[in-house]
Symmetry: C2
Subunit: 343 residues, 2 copies
DNA sequence: ATGAAAGCGCTAACAC
DNA sequence: GTGTTAGCGCTTTCAT
């Protein structure tokens, strides 16, 4: 046996020859279509089994009227990020139940890569795509969508029309988080956010502003740090905050890696028991840190399920108006967000 | 614009008609093959662009001699598990650089699901598969392999021949971990492991036994707990250990979720500063816990890269003898594994 | 209930 | 350089 597999794959033709029926009859049996006698059916099945016949979905879909590949594309920013991975898993589960497989790719939040991956997917004639749009313009996505490819955006909405999306309560939950901190007596609440080009970052920042306003607090620009992509950058930014003359007494960290970076610094400076932290996005082991980290948790399985439902329905021909589904996030109090201000 | 895309996709035929050349010439231009005049080439390109032509890889591969779909299947236990996700990402990266896309699926360590997914992949004529084999028998994998499908197993080796695999130094690294604990004076070192049907669990247990023996310690069966699948079960088992008359003073936790469960219990019982812990498999934030968790870290990118290299080479026709690549893991000392026994 | 012929979009093999 | 013919494995259409 060698790795490259020499024997020619048996085809319906071979099965037909062995079963002494026409190729069309084989097609009927393999696809479970009516119009095949019981005895003939059995003969075909036996022939297929003995030859080791396997249906060729790619040839079938080429000829079939519906042209379905029973495959969808999923393009997320980074499949190794816990949030993306959980989302992929949720989409995959629901798709599989409909016999649909997932071609998965990481865009790295890079337009060029995103476009290349879209081209690769379309060359394989996927039935639809679920995309976490790269920040900035969405030209390639819009172009693909306008060609008629069914598309659902997750986490971030489209900047063009006619397309479904699924997001969470970024603004509302952020506002609630800030209000909670304010209620604990905090007046110097910092905002630490991911890239400003990301819609989620903007929404969470807007929620932060709304929270401050609603609590009657004034914004201190010095307490706002954005474009923190990755743990390391977040650490630097957090450290800088505590070198201020009047450092914050509470942090609202608007993304999971940012939260991690912030916690590292607080721990290093032994501030973790005095400075309150609420993070957006849950992360594994948040409950095991000291203190356990209070977070706004997105309903990732819910988002994935909704995205899968939408794309599958669109593929199935659903032409109802585009939907922007909003899946509620919830505040999970664990300790870090319940630290009161020293007054 | 509606979601279902009505217009018929333009084909090479359409492009040929518009450019007033034969379809074969279009094929040459699209595929960058020689034998097309400069002026004609430009005319074809223009026609393709104006029609919005997109090559159909699925039709092409049906006809082409090599029959490549430029797609591989990746079946892991759970794509939302950090280890699996990181591995997927590594494989995906390397595959993409060769123009290969990844069909990804979670087997849930379930044979039936694994077999169904294999069938789905083979119906789509993937060029090869990278699989984290479900525990127990590997009948479906062997069957698929014997059909000639290029295959690489990761994390766990095949129980049949003629197949590449990539694993880590499970036994050696486990032995080293136990020896390290013993060197710190620990004589009651517990083993907490995942499902016994998993090869990795067995290897790590064997390494544990070797470590004990080499350190001159005798095995206490009461300190061995296996089949701990998931955090919750691991917590129960850990708690039981500390209800023993002579509880362990050190733990070797042989999987990341088990480590997390154990840390939870130690924390809850305020034992985390007295009981030493070394875990197999790193996990996010292990360094932020109190104490930071000492782990045996697998080289996940290395494993993924090797697996990708192997599968791509086999697809490319490499018929050299099967390889069992072993990617070294390393011990990452962070604190929990450096707690000495009270003597 | 079964089959023959045509053709999905493309490329192989061979013309010219 | 360019085109023609055949056919990949399958489904469609229409016949019997």
């Amino acid at each position: 046996m060698d790795q490259a597999g020499e024997r020619r794959e048996p085809t319906m033709r071979d099965v037909a020859a062995l079963a002494k029926v026409s190729i069309k009859t084989v097609s009927r049996v393999i696809n479970g279509l009516p119009g095949a006698g019981t005895e003939v059916t059995e003969r075909v099945r036996a022939a297929a089994r003995s030859l080791g016949y396997r249906p060729n979905l790619t040839a079938s879909s080429l000829r079939r009227a519906d042209r379905r590949s029973a495959t969808i594309g999923v393009l997320f920013e980074d499949l190794s990020n816990p949030f993306d991975a959980a989302l992929l898993r949720a989409v995959e589960d629901h798709a599989r139940r409909s016999g649909v497989l997932v071609l998965a790719g990481s865009t790295e939040d890079d337009h060029t890569l995103q476009r290349e991956l879209l081209v690769s997917l379309s060359a394989r004639r996927v039935d639809g795509v679920v995309v976490m749009a790269a920040g900035g313009h969405q030209d390639a996505l819009q172009h693909e969508r306008e060609r008629g490819t069914p598309m659902v955006l997750v986490d971030r909405p489209p900047t063009f029309g006619g397309t479904d999306c699924v997001t969470t309560t970024n603004r509302d939950s952020s506002r609630a988080a800030v209000l909670k901190l304010a209620a604990l007596g905090h007046r110097d609440i910092a905002f630490l956010g991911d890239r400003r080009t990301l819609w989620t970052s903007q929404e969470r920042y807007t929620g932060y502003l709304e929270g401050l306003a609603q609590a009657g607090l004034t914004l201190r620009e010095a307490l706002v740090r954005t474009d923190l992509h990755g743990v390391a950058v977040a650490e630097t930014a957090t450290a800088a905050l505590f070198d201020l003359d009047r450092p914050p007494t509470a942090l609202f960290t608007a993304q999971n890696l940012v939260t991690v970076g912030a916690m590292r610094v607080l721990r290093a400076r032994d501030l973790h028991r005095r400075v309150a932290v609420i993070g957006f996005d849950d992360f594994p082991l948040a409950d095991l840190l000291d203190p356990a980290v209070t977070v706004v948790r997105q309903d990732v399985p819910g988002i994935g399920r909704k995205a899968a439902e939408l794309i599958l329905a669109r593929i199935d021909g659903d032409t109802s108006p585009p939907v922007h589904a909003v899946v509620p996030a919830s505040l999970v109090p664990r300790g870090s967000g319940e630290i009161a201000a020293l007054s």
